[in-house]
């Protein structure tokens, strides 16, 4: 246990991120006061935010070796939190980079947009470190509330407002469920720190109250993870939200749910329930329903939303193995999926800026107009589909391998069949890009989007070809979780 002042230095990354958000707002206020043209775009605010997140990432790396708990055990620093924090910061930076160009109508409020993304990232980072139920609750609010605003940011677009309202209702319901679950667990066990809960659970019999509390808790996370049966909100919200926000939701928010769920689930494994089966069934349903849903979509954002549900299923396959290596494969999968999905969304944003459409049928012949962005989308979709040399293959391979090692052959079979279904609809988009003849006007790709695509594409290839560093990081994180 460190003394409070020292403890604060361990939270340096979070403090930097919090200040970055505030700084962006303040600077923007000063700038608006001192200029005649307050509506001009201000991409430098995004760069400032990115620099802040980059600094925080440096701090996370600097603290990478620290393994401790702070403030009576409510905050924990270990390789798992480091892994997720770096992932969240990377996601935050890329999303900021791709937020600059789609915002022409909103440039007056761009500072708020960037600040909200920064704070949302802060909430995600804290969730990765939170080790006490009510801290978890606060951190969850910190990520959810900015998201409600962000989703409704395109306020003149009815779809965006609708999505925002739906997300608000979802947050309300899931928060209520979660809080109820937390109260029951606290009532049954008399403690709220996760490490204590683990100790008490090991000796306790499963009472109905406790069981209900745990189920409600898991339900609360289920919404964030977007796994079946908590997925129904996903397509509408993903479609309506401004695209960078959708990109952020699809990876940042989902992984935050996993970061959190992992700590609690691993702690609760002593409870005599067939966890293999519970998570296995959830995984199988998510993969199958997600992929079948995606098959019918004509809108790329909705397709990616359903594909995201399916991807949550693959992640759960890693969880269902309930082994250290299974969790490691899950973590590896998050990194691989994160880069690929952001890459896909960046390309989608580039196309939408040029054509104003998210319909897959409007992608006809885009390869001639924007060869690099088309290539980027192709790489992203092939990686999501799990083809070798790309991150997605290694990720699926690890997840399936360790699920098979845990004896979940049926689940691997479901996963493999699903991979084929998924490839079908990913490929359909790729044909659409390359095969039909369309207009020939070249689409210019903004340098920022180009940079974001390059970074993500390098990530996808690097993880696919040299998976070792990320694999080692995920194994370390997983073994920390199991107290190794």
């Amino acid at each position: 246990m460190a003394d409070p002042t020292v403890a604060l230095t361990f939270l340096a990354p979070e403090i930097i991120v919090a200040l970055t958000g505030a700084l962006v707002l303040v600077i923007d206020l000063i700038w608006i006061r001192s200029t005649d043209a307050p509506n001009t775009p201000r991409p430098w605010l995004a760069y400032l935010s990115i620099a802040g997140l980059g600094l925080a990432a440096g701090a996370v790396i600097g603290l990478a070796g620290v393994q401790t708990t702070l403030f009576e055990g409510i905050v924990i620093l270990d390789p798992l939190s480091t892994f997720f924090k770096l992932l969240f910061l990377a996601i935050g930076m890329i999303v900021l980079l791709i937020s600059v160009d789609p915002l022409p109508g909103f440039s007056k409020w761009s500072a708020e947009f960037f600040a909200l993304i920064v704070w949302c990232t802060l909430g995600n980072m804290l969730l990765a470190s939170a080790a006490e139920l009510f801290t978890i609750f606060l951190c969850l609010q910190l990520t959810s509330l900015p998201l409600i605003v962000l989703i409704g940011y395109a306020k003149r677009d009815p779809l965006s407002s609708e999505a925002s309202l739906k997300y608000l209702l979802l947050v309300l319901v899931s928060t209520a469920v979660l809080l109820y679950g937390m109260t029951l667990v606290y009532g049954a066990l008399g403690t709220s720190t996760i490490s204590e809960i683990g100790k008490v659970l090991a000796e306790q019999r499963l009472t109905p109250v406790l069981a209900l509390g745990l189920v409600l808790l898991l339900t609360g996370f289920g919404f964030k993870i977007t796994a079946v049966p908590f997925q129904y909100w996903v397509p509408d919200v993903y479609e309506g939200a401004p695209s960078p926000v959708t990109a952020f939701l699809s990876v940042g928010s989902k992984f935050a749910g996993f970061a959190l769920a992992l700590r609690i689930i691993v702690t609760g494994l002593d409870i005599p329930l067939n966890w293999h089966l519970i998570f296995g069934v959830m995984a199988a349903l998510s993969m199958t329903l997600g992929n079948l849903g995606a098959l019918r979509q004509t809108n790329i954002k909705r397709m990616l939303a359903y594909s995201g549900i399916a991807q949550a299923g693959y992640l759960l396959v890693g969880l269902a193995a309930l082994s250290e290596m299974g969790i490691a494969s899950l973590l590896f999968y998050t990194a691989a999926y994160g880069f690929a999905n952001l890459l896909a969304f960046t390309a989608v944003i580039v196309f939408a800026n040029a054509t104003g459409s998210y319909e897959i049928s409007d992608y006809a012949g885009l390869a001639r107009r924007a060869p690099l962005a088309s290539f980027a989308l192709t790489v992203a979709l092939l990686s999501l589909g799990g083809l070798p040399l790309l991150a997605g293959f290694m990720a699926k391979f690890y997840v399936f391998l360790f699920a098979a090692q845990a004896g979940l052959i049926w689940l691997v079979a479901v996963g493999v069949v699903n991979s084929v279904i998924a490839l079908y609809y990913y490929l359909r988009v790729i044909w659409q890009l390359y095969v039909p003849e369309g207009s020939l006007d070249p689409i210019s790709v903004a340098p920022r989007a180009g940079l974001a695509m390059s970074v993500c594409a390098v990530g996808v290839f690097a993880i696919g070809v040299f998976p070792e560093p990320v694999l080692r990081a995920s194994q370390m994180a997983a073994s920390a979780l199991f107290g190794g």
């Binding site: 092939l382 070798p388 040399l389 690890y398 399936f400 098979a404 691997v412 490929l427 095969v435 194994q475």
Partner: protein, 490 residues
């Protein structure tokens, strides 16, 4: 330089070259083909160097190179060649160069095209020299992607259908193979995917386990060969693919399947392989006869050649199933020889198509009068294909038939008889295309161009060389083939 490094560069150079071509700016598109020529030429030079340095007396792996890849998972970047893979490596390098030469008329997306061709070359070579199961699988899949796009973008009118059919077939197979590889890893309990290190443990697995695992892998391999009834993707893919891609598809891609049988079967899962041998032999013979029968009734020149590939690959499979030294050697020679002859055939059909914009056999006739060199080469190809002594096709098929006579007397007899069918469809095709009345529409058909000659004649020379001096090829293969036959004979 260590030869292992040379081996690694046969994969790396096409990869680097492919990326380099992709990075050429639009204005420099015309440099794409020269760069590709240079890269494939150097790769061929390296392959030749490896061939010369190869010690034919050693049946094991040579020029091995091992580098850490993902030690956490027991998989490494492990390459090496033996008498089975070296000829395939050489064949790939040879045909890739010729494919680039033959791609002179590609005018759309040239950079992308040559990038994909080089990626394809890297993937194909990788499959033949990888000694780690995961590495093997990765290359196996890498081949799929450029092939899909090459058919899909530069193909004929029904390319979409053909490309997706090819993709789905191979993908279904690949997943079965991945399942097989994972099961093999888990069943042996070895913490490695290295084929050499895994072999003794895999061979100790129970018969049931070996059979199950080998069946999964064999399914993927059989699709690639292809063996009837899993062959239906092949005619479509061939007909729609651009000429140079057909050359690589028939010349090299199909050999991935038969090579995989040799590598996984006797060397990794001998008992599982033995168990499936009756089925492999049966399907091999069915492929021989069925492929030839289908070729007989085709009216499309390219489809005819495609079905003849099915038939010729049937000989390869029969030889492998026979498991005798002569059978396996014949299969290996036939793999190489079919690569040359099929390459030749598709280049010729491509040349005919470019002149007439149709591949219907009835659209030709008497072409020997207007284009004697082109027609003459078509005749030469047909004789090579039907197994005229003195050309490479004869050596392979003859050895397969004699080698399989012991274990599969009836099949061997049928295979020998099927040569008549082969002669039938080829000679009949020649009569309608090359000889007979000159079709008026073809009256001003130009003869073979220099570029075409540059792509086709090396194949003719190689076919003759192997036909006359089979020892050039057989010498390299013999030791490794003996060791395979010994495992199966025991």
């Amino acid at each position: 330089m260590a030869m292992g490094t040379v081996l690694a560069w046969t994969i790396l150079l096409p990869l680097v070259g492919g990326v380099a071509i992709a990075l050429i700016p639009q204005s420099g598109s015309k440099f794409a083909r020269p760069v590709a020529l240079l890269v494939t030429g150097v790769v061929l030079a390296m392959a030749t160097w490896l061939w010369i340095s190869f010690n034919p007396a050693d049946p094991g792996m040579q020029f091995e190179i091992v580098r850490d890849w993902v030690p956490g998972l027991g998989t490494a970047f492990h390459l090496g060649v033996d008498g089975l893979s070296l000829p395939m490596l050489f064949l790939t390098a040879f045909l890739s160069l010729l494919a680039v030469i033959a791609s002179a008329r590609i005018s759309e997306f040239t950079r992308e095209y040559f990038t994909l061709i080089l990626l394809l070359e890297a993937g194909l070579i990788g499959v033949f020299i990888a000694l780690d199961l995961i590495l093997f699988y990765v290359f196996w899949e890498v081949v799929l992607i450029p092939m899909f796009f090459l058919i899909n973008i530069w193909g004929g009118p029904r390319r979409r259908y053909a490309a997706i059919k090819f993709f789905l077939y191979t993908l279904a197979g690949s997943l079965a193979m991945l399942g097989g590889i994972i099961s093999l890893f888990l069943a042996t309990g070895a913490q490695t995917f290295d084929m050499i290190a895994l072999a003794p443990q895999a061979a100790r697995l129970s018969l049931a386990a070996q059979t199950a695992i080998f069946t999964a892998i064999a399914f993927a391999l059989a699709i690639k060969v292809p063996m009837v009834p899993l062959h239906t993707w092949l005619p479509d893919a061939h007909v729609e693919a651009p000429t140079a891609v057909s050359v690589l598809l028939a010349g090299v891609l199909l050999k991935m399947g038969s090579y995989g049988f040799l590598r996984f079967g006797p060397q990794l899962l001998p008992d599982g392989f033995e168990r499936l041998v009756p089925l492999i032999a049966l399907l091999g013979v069915v492929s021989i006869v069925y492929g030839a029968a289908c070729a007989l009734v085709q009216t499309d020149l390219k489809k005819l050649i495609a079905y003849s590939s099915v038939s010729h690959m049937g000989y390869v499979m029969l030889g492998i199933a026979a498991g005798t030294a002569a059978g396996v050697l014949g299969a290996s020679v036939q793999m190489f020889s079919h690569g040359l002859i099929a390459g030749m055939a598709f280049l010729l059909v491509g040349a005919y198509y470019e002149r007439a914009h149709t591949r219907e056999i009835s659209a030709f006739g008497g072409t020997a009068r207007v284009a004697p060199i082109l027609a003459g080469t078509l005749v030469f190809m047909s004789f090579a294909s039907l197994g005229l002594p003195g050309m490479s096709g004869f050596i392979g098929e003859f050895m397969v038939v004699t080698g399989s006579f012991g274990p599969f007397t009836t099949y061997s007899a049928i295979a020998a008889f099927a040569v008549v069918l082969t002669a039938g469809y080829l000679l009949w095709m020649l009569r309608r295309v090359v000889f007979g009345q000159l079709n008026e529409a073809r009256a001003d058909m130009p003869d073979m161009t220099r570029t075409e000659a540059a792509a086709i004649f090396p194949l003719c020379i190689a076919t003759l060389c192997i036909g006359v001096f089979p020892q050039v090829l057989v010498g390299v293969m013999e030791a490794s083939v003996e060791s395979v036959a010994k495992i199966l004979g025991a």
